[in-house]
């Protein structure tokens, strides 16, 4: 490049003025960016379109006005008043909230002890935790059903919550552990010299400092529990006890042609996630970056 004059540059082997090259790069960048966003958001958009007026794709493209004229909230009304949607929503909310809250509590202390305390077998415990993540959910689900049946936890929301926690914990402990390993040890030592017990030091100093990491873990737990299908399907048999994903799936058989109802339900199920992610997304980013650079 040293031989070229200052205001020209090379782009894919073609020599261009610097300004043109910058402009071309920007255009390329934005094309790729908006292209990806479009690809990702099209299903969501289609969900909205169909929930308001269940026309086929071709019909919408050929005559958009026909779609506009037929727009109605009828599907939403049916979902709310003629199905168990609200019950499922409530069940999902209960299970997800409980699983997230309990995961946070257990995972904070679990990750702290594996990341910080020096005890024999610490590494073995950590590796074992990771090992449990090797099995697909469906493989665990059947033995879990048998155990839960014996314990009387089948067909209860608390049973489902426990199952979710069991599945979320290993990964979230691993996520938080890395963060705790990088937190300066002197902070909790200072708190312990200053009159705290170790647990007190964790609660008063470590937990506030790890808020972003904990938020990331919480989001992870929330998304998992809210979207989970297989375990809910296997462990719950009553429609009044089931959660949104298996609940919505029952519509497929009975109302297989009611796309608008299905899509309205899907939007209802997605909204809470979108809202939560919208407010907490900054924590995901800081949470993921924090462990790496904390001094």
């Amino acid at each position: 490049m040293a031989t070229k004059s200052r205001d020209t540059t090379e782009l894919f082997g073609v020599e261009l003025s610097k300004q043109t090259a910058d402009r071309l790069k920007a255009v390329g960048f934005h094309t790729i960016l908006w292209g990806s966003i479009f690809v990702v958001l099209t299903p969501v958009l289609w969900m909205v379109v169909v929930s308001l007026n269940p026309l086929s794709f071709l019909n919408v493209i050929e005559d958009p006005m026909r779609w506009v004229n037929g727009v109605s909230l009828d599907a939403y009304e049916r979902a709310i008043y003629q199905t168990d949607f609200l019950i499922w929503f409530k069940n999902s909310a209960i299970v997800t909230l409980a699983a997230t809250a309990l995961t946070i509590v257990v995972c904070t202390f679990g990750a702290y002890s594996i990341g910080r305390l020096r005890f024999r077998g610490r590494k073995a415990v950590a590796t074992f935790l990771l090992l449990t993540q090797m099995f697909p959910l469906i493989l665990v689900a059947v033995p879990l059903f048998l155990i839960f049946r014996d314990l009387g936890l089948v067909n209860t929301l608390s049973g489902l919550t426990i199952a979710y926690i069991a599945f979320i914990l290993p990964f979230s402990i691993w996520m938080l552990r890395g963060f705790y390993e990088n937190l300066p040890e002197s902070l909790e030592e200072a708190a312990m010299v200053d009159g705290s017990t170790r647990v007190g030091a964790v609660i008063r100093v470590i937990v506030p400092l790890s808020a972003p990491a904990i938020a990331t873990t919480a989001i992870f737990a929330w998304i998992f529990a809210w979207n989970e299908f297989v375990m809910a399907l296997i462990l719950i048999s009553d429609s009044s006890k089931t959660t949104l994903p298996p609940g919505l799936s029952t519509w497929v058989g009975r109302y297989s042609l009611q796309w608008d109802l299905l899509m309205a339900g899907a939007i209802g199920a997605t909204l809470p996630l979108i809202i939560i992610l919208f407010f907490l997304q900054k924590y995901i980013i800081t949470g993921l970056a924090e462990g790496a650079v904390k001094t």
């Binding site: 030592e189 200072a190 312990m192 200053d194 009159g195 705290s196």
Partner: protein
């Protein structure tokens, strides 16, 4: 207020890493004791054992009349200032300082606030009370960390290299300030540093450690003037002590070798009695060497390497014509400190600025050195011990007392 007693304290990491080896020491109530030594000498480990942040492998540590081995840090009546300051980043300065008082006392919020205010005034951090630590400069953070320790009014202060993150000027300033505070509060203090200058200037007594072993304890002047072994001699004092290799000729009452000096007959025979090897190490500090431009009686010729202007004095580095390396004579198990290992045979002398013309540098022209034998130390290279009767008989009583401190419990 509390005295601290180390009774045969050892720390073993894992199965076989000995960090502290049978450490005995008594620290008087209100005393400022500095633990000094190179990296890995076990000084921080000792401090952390007092704080309760490290288990004690063997022996006992007493604070006041209590054996604290099994007490958690919060029950030891101590306050600690960490090298990294360890300020709670999510709390304001005020909350940082009040943290310990809230946990360890029954004081009302009002009283706590008063005490925080008072200490903040004393430390000059009052305007920053409502700021978070990340908005403070290094010096201010240091003050907050110290203030957080002071406000609790503990029995013992523990400082773990608190000034090492500050720049040189601020470090000197804070050094004086910490000393002033300690004098004012009169609280027993253990101060860990690897900086011998800090140790010399601040402490009532210095304890020098190397490889987990206590080398010498005493007031700064004593360890400087009467080092008990070659490690202490090299470690304390900057620039470090010159080490020459010479043999003692008892018939002529003279040392012959790198440098030739005569000593009085009684001293010569005492040294001869203590020595286990022919070649001995003569330690002379840079201020106890005199440089002459012409040969004088008993002088040793030397070539000038470089002259460093330091301000009030200049430091002249010299080479001897054919000096024996200290490394060649010293036993493998005797530690002489890192300085000497790195700049082996680097001889220094303080001179008046301009007293030796700069043309002498690297010119091959000789200057002539005489040595103040009164201030000369003689070390046995096989044991590293100071075998000079001159220094071993003039020990101060406090020195003798601390040597037996471990036995009186």
């Amino acid at each position: 207020m509390a005295r601290i007693l180390f009774d045969d304290v050892s720390k073993i990491y894992g199965d076989d890493t000995l960090a502290v080896d049978s450490f005995d020491l008594e620290i008087e109530d209100g005393e400022f004791l500095t633990l000094v030594g190179p990296s890995g000498s076990g000084k921080s480990t000792l401090l952390r054992m007092v704080a309760g942040l490290e288990d004690i492998s063997e022996g006992n540590i007493h604070i006041g009349d209590t054996v604290v081995n099994n007490l958690p840090p919060r029950s030891r009546d101590i306050a600690m200032v960490f090298q990294s300051y360890a300020l709670y980043p999510h709390l304001t300065v005020r909350e940082n300082m009040a943290f310990g008082l809230k946990r360890s006392t029954d004081l009302s919020d009002h009283e706590i606030n008063d005490r925080v205010q008072e200490t903040a005034e004393m430390m000059g951090i009052e305007p920053h009370l409502d700021q978070k630590p990340k908005h403070l400069s290094g010096g201010q953070r240091q003050r907050v960390a110290t203030g957080r320790a002071i406000v609790r009014d503990p029995g013992v202060f523990l400082f773990d290299e608190p000034l090492s993150n500050l720049d040189a000027k601020l470090r000197k300033h804070m050094r004086t300030e910490l000393q002033r505070i300690q004098n004012q509060l009169d609280t027993t203090t253990i101060y860990v540093t690897h900086d011998q200058e800090e140790a010399m200037t601040m402490s009532d007594r210095i304890a020098i450690l190397n490889y987990g072993e206590l080398q010498q304890v005493g007031p700064p002047r004593t360890v400087y003037n009467e080092p008990e072994n070659v490690f202490v001699a090299q470690f304390i004092g900057s620039p470090s002590m010159n080490m020459f290799v010479s043999e003692l000729d008892t018939d002529a009452n003279r040392f012959v070798g790198d440098i030739d000096v005569s000593i009085d007959p009684e001293r010569a025979s005492a040294i001869a009695q203590n020595a286990t090897s022919d070649e001995l190490l003569l330690g002379i500090r840079p201020e106890h060497v005199t440089v002459h431009l012409e040969a004088v009686d008993e002088s040793v010729p030397a070539s000038v390497d470089i002259i460093e202007p330091l301000g009030s004095n200049d430091l002249l580095y010299f080479d001897l014509e054919d000096g024996t390396g200290v490394e060649d004579v010293i036993a493998d198990n005797v530690s002489i400190g890192e300085d000497e290992e790195k700049d082996e045979e680097e001889y220094k002398v303080f001179i008046q600025p301009g007293s030796v013309p700069n043309e002498y540098e690297d010119s091959g022209e000789f200057v002539y050195l005489t040595f103040d034998t009164e201030h000369m130390h003689v070390f046995d290279p096989t044991t590293g011990e100071n075998i000079d009767v001159e220094t071993t008989t003039t020990r101060t009583p406090i020195d003798a007392q601390t040597e037996t401190a471990g036995d009186d419990d």
